[in-house]
Assembly symmetry: C2
């Protein structure tokens, strides 16, 4: 079966997010002061071939742990949908 994975990889909440801070102040310079607490991470989509949804989720989680996310500094969320 074919599945599509949507992955969000974000810096851990406890860590400073310099990129988020920079975007936040740039938005304020543009007059968008209603926006606060910007955090910036990665969004990935990929196709995965698996016999069922559970196996697809396990494969993608494995990929996140091995390569896609730096678990010392980042957390990840996986969302699997049928293609």
């Amino acid at each position: 079966m074919h599945f599509v994975a949507h992955i969000n990889i974000m810096p851990l909440k406890e860590l400073l997010d310099p990129q988020g801070k920079a975007v936040n102040s740039s938005l304020h310079n543009l007059g968008l002061t209603q926006i606060q607490n910007v955090r910036v991470g990665k969004h990935m989509t990929l196709n995965v071939e698996a016999k069922d949804k559970a196996e697809a989720e396990a494969l993608v989680t494995d990929a996140c742990k091995k390569l896609l996310a730096n678990l010392v500094m980042e957390s990840f969320e996986v969302n699997i949908t049928e293609a």
Copy 2:
């Protein structure tokens, strides 16, 4: 009212995604050959103060068009939830 915005910014489908290609081949080197067609973009979360959800969505869309997304090469998706 307080809202949280979840934003996905992805390279346009027509464009080459070298980062996605690199991740794809690295995953294959790790033996995860069931994974194909990796695409890499940005995920952002932010807090926005607005009188209602529609205004929050308009503010965040404005921020995406002005700063967060490069509309020549990227598309964006905004998802607003109450804080």
